[in-house]
Amino acid sequence: MKLSGKVFKYGDNVDTDVIIPARFLNTSDPEKLAEHCLEDLDPEFTDRVTEGDIIVGGKNFGSGSSREHAPLAIKAAGISCVIAESFARIFYRNSINIGLPILESPEASRSIEEGQKIEVDLQEGIIKNLDGGQEYKSEKFPPFMRDIIQSGGLIEYVKREQLGRH
């Protein structure tokens, strides 16, 4: 599957508190969460984001709280994929589990700039900068995680496997 969109570029350690502040966590409705996505970091994000856009972060993206509301808000805001130099582990799990595509690529994270158009081939893990022409490769997911992603998330995977309940 190929995704393409314009880039929202952020720095290191984008934490889940700025992705979706706790003051909005009295609901778990993704659409309502999306209205406040990244509000404290980039007040214009929700106005500017369009369906399919891509976030490019630095190191340790999604650090802090385990709130799944963070990837849910990003996904519901219309973001098709998050690329970062590295992800915090709970955010990484959560994204895979809910079916938000994420890719780790230090080179892409460093080189891609705000507002550029990029294309992502999820299958091959290739990120192409449509404005500059450069290509970056990301780490491939191990087979187990690929299974979860291809199932459409952990719940679908569990339904399919009926883990532990034969």
Partner: protein, 421 residues
Amino acid sequence: MGMTMVEKIIAAHADKQKVSPGDILLAEVDMVLGNDITSPVAIEEFKKIGISEVFDPGRVILVPDHFTPNKDINSAQQAKILRSFAREQELEYYFEIGEMGIEHCLLPEQGLALPGEIIIGADSHTCTYGALGALGTGVGSTDMAAAMATGKAWFRVPPTIKFVYSGSLQPWVGAKDLILYTIGDIGVDGALYKSMEFTGEVIDNLSMDGRMTMSNMAIEAGGKCGLIKPDEKTQNYLKNRAIRDYTPLYSDEDAEYEKEIRYDVGKIEPQISFPHLPENTHPLSEAEGLEIDQAVIGSCTNGRIEDLRKAAEVMAGNKVRDSVRCLVFPGTQKIYQQALQEGVIETLIEAGAAVSTPTCGPCLGGHMGILAAGERAVSTTNRNFVGRMGHKESEVYLSSPAVAAAAAVKGYLVHPEEVVK
């Protein structure tokens, strides 16, 4: 080649003789935990799986502690989802207001976090249970849902960094200072995807409360867990608490560590983490004189009896400065009661602190102590991100309970020894 604690715990739960860092496998979990923010999502996801009952009603723990006592109508709705689910599933461990505590203070106190066990919690500070030699680790709501259905979760076996603490602690320096210092040294992603193992004579000498403070903040360095070898102290703590027999697991002598980091603690003074990252750690002497509007003492990091005693020791005979709101949150009802019986609460109230029922409230900017634009808090909590305790232009400085109490008295950051009468 032997195995580290985390490797042994995962192996034991995945029916393997040997596992190595990088292995990805399904493991059985002993306990699954959720709170009033994360569980409603998990319960919704659980229902999608199509299984009507949780895998074991004695192994799913629900604690409504974040926005409770309910702060608004939406929060009340969320808490109600937990309550209804707990009743419907006949969960053994649902804690209603009145017996509720901050989850990571509550579970160890109730003997629900045991050495050698795996506890996954839809809360990032589930790593607290590392202090008891348990693999406690934070996950999201969907992981919680899948584990409620199957009793299993997927894990990538992490490499381990061994931390060795030696020397003698300076007066007024404790577990919180050690962990802030460590995070300051390795950074907020210094242990990303890794297990932290805290060892050495200093850790051996820490109380269980102190150990829990250290393990609690492993996540602030990106860690999957922060493990401490269970010893006689652990066993004594668990006597009359543990809900079942347990099998402690220890790192082998020849276990392979990714790295070993040694600290001579004698040089460490009280630590302060400046906004907006826990790694922005400075010695207190570099922060002295910084004025504060609010002091928060409590949370899953520092809401235990020893923390409250320290705060009371500093505040005894002193008064909270007029310009400061000092808020104290005992971690559980039992801690609250013990503090009452010991006179700790009286000392704090006498000094002008406001003491609350247990709640995570202000730590995450939920309720009970939100900061306005431009306000500054010193807090014994665990995060000082942008907007963490309220307005995005407010600031949180992380410290130990003694330092927060001293700041409440003086109105600015100051060494506790200058305040104690």
